[in-house]
């Protein structure tokens, strides 16, 4: 299927349309809202579902040596992308060192919902992908945070409590954040229980996935639309340009690595999407702890208001299409 057909089919998928609905409702200032606890339930469900299915797939196909290589590649990407992002931001935008470092951390890390969206699109297309990429996704969440801290420290900015706080405590908080625990935990449980567990949980974990994803993307549309509204004043042209180009850079780097590792077309698309996506759960919270002087609105507006919609609507079909050519 050509990239154009893919893009169109993607655009007309219920998932993307529900996102567009939420986005539009936010702009029209509708009072539609999803309660916070419902949004958290949906997020938890998506993580549990993609984690478990990845694990069950691994139980079925076994782990290959590729797993370790891909995890290493993912960690490397997550750690080095912030340096690229920081360099670009400092070169083309007026962001301060701390703000640029914080934004860079978001783009080195990943977005689990974008991950869920690309797996949804691949399932629709019937394209398989390596189940262990769930573990890769989990591994890519945090290295970017430490890269950003290194960048900020080099520039003389650091943790809000200086040496008063043991760094191990911060490491633990970051490494054990809820989304990593549930994603990796469900992955391990999926791997341990395999086909037996899958039979039991399929109606919940597989059959409901598209519906829950739609509801969640409706919420993401609302939140992204409102966030864009709230952070409008930070959206200069260079900053927007960064938020559109950085995903492409990440995807390109991931494509090269995927080719070297020998990932399948589906796996290549997922890996590209992970690199292209920007965090908006784990990293924002970590930045408030580690770089409190960074303005949280800037990073969130870019990651959630610009990059997420871009990946969802344009990026994902693009990456899938490119991946099918790269990985053949």
């Amino acid at each position: 299927m050509g990239v154009f057909d893919l893009a169109l089919q993607n655009l007309l998928s219920p998932m993307v349309l529900f996102f567009v609905l939420g986005f539009g409702a936010a702009f029209a200032r509708s009072d539609l809202t999803v309660p916070q606890s419902v949004a958290k339930l949906l997020a938890m469900y998506l993580l549990l579902s993609i984690g478990f299915r990845g694990g069950a797939e691994v139980a079925h196909h076994g782990l290959t040596a590729q797993l370790l290589t891909t995890i290493a590649a993912g960690i490397a990407l997550s750690f080095f992308m912030p340096f690229i992002a920081f360099a670009i931001l400092r070169a083309v935008t007026k962001l301060s060192v701390v703000d640029a470092a914080a934004v860079a951390a978001h783009y080195g890390s990943i977005s689990a919902v974008t991950f869920a969206a690309v797996t949804g699109a691949l399932t629709l297309l019937g394209t398989p992908y390596e189940g262990y990429l769930v573990a890769v996704a989990a591994a890519m969440e945090t290295p970017a945070i430490f890269a950003a801290l290194a960048i900020a420290r080099r520039a003389g900015r650091g943790d809000s409590e200086g040496d008063a706080k043991p760094p191990g405590e911060f490491l633990r908080e970051v490494a054990l954040n809820g989304s990593i625990v549930i994603l990796l935990g469900a992955f391990v449980i999926g791997a341990l229980t395999g086909a037996r567990g899958m039979t039991l949980l399929k109606p919940f974990i597989v059959d409901l996935f598209p519906g829950f994803l739609c509801l969640f993307l409706l919420d993401m549309g609302l939140v992204a639309g409102r966030g864009l509204e709230a952070g409008r004043r930070y959206l200069s042209a260079p900053v927007i340009g960064f938020a559109l180009v950085m995903p492409l850079i990440g995807a390109a780097l991931a494509a090269v690595l995927a080719k070297v590792i020998g990932l399948s077309p589906g796996g290549t698309a997922v890996f590209m999407t992970l690199a292209a996506s920007a965090s908006y759960i784990a990293v924002p919270a970590a930045m408030r702890l580690a770089l409190p002087d960074a303005n949280p609105t800037i990073a969130l507006t870019l990651s959630l208001g610009v990059t997420f919609p871009f990946n969802l609507v344009i990026g994902i079909p693009l990456y899938i299409s490119l991946a099918s050519q790269i990985a053949r």
Partner: protein, 103 residues
């Protein structure tokens, strides 16, 4: 009914550092505190709402701590050391309680 004067410290602070503030209250030896959710607001950085949010980074919480006036300065100092670099603020008011030995 006889009542005794105390201080009511209200800390409105961003969610990611709530744990740190509470740890400092613990260290300052207050007898307790209560955390109340804030669901929306506006400040210098514009307005926000918790509706639909999955992350906690943008959300504020209110921490209420009734304490003896004698402890006020110590509490304010240790709490303010965190609050000053974060999003949030502290306010203090006078209250009267029935059981003075409780605080």
């Amino acid at each position: 009914m006889q009542t005794f004067p105390k201080k009511r410290i209200e800390i409105i602070i961003e969610q990611p550092v709530v744990k740190r503030v509470l740890a400092r209250l613990d260290a300052a030896d207050v007898t307790g505190y209560s955390v109340i959710p804030v669901v929306a607001g506006r400040g210098h950085e514009g307005s926000w709402t918790a509706q639909g949010e999955i992350g906690d980074a943008g959300q504020m919480m209110a921490i209420i701590c009734i304490a003896d006036a004698a402890k006020l300065d110590a509490v304010l100092e240790t709490v303010f050391a965190v609050v000053t670099r974060q999003i949030g603020f502290v306010s203090v008011s006078d209250v009267a309680v029935v059981r003075t030995e409780r605080f």
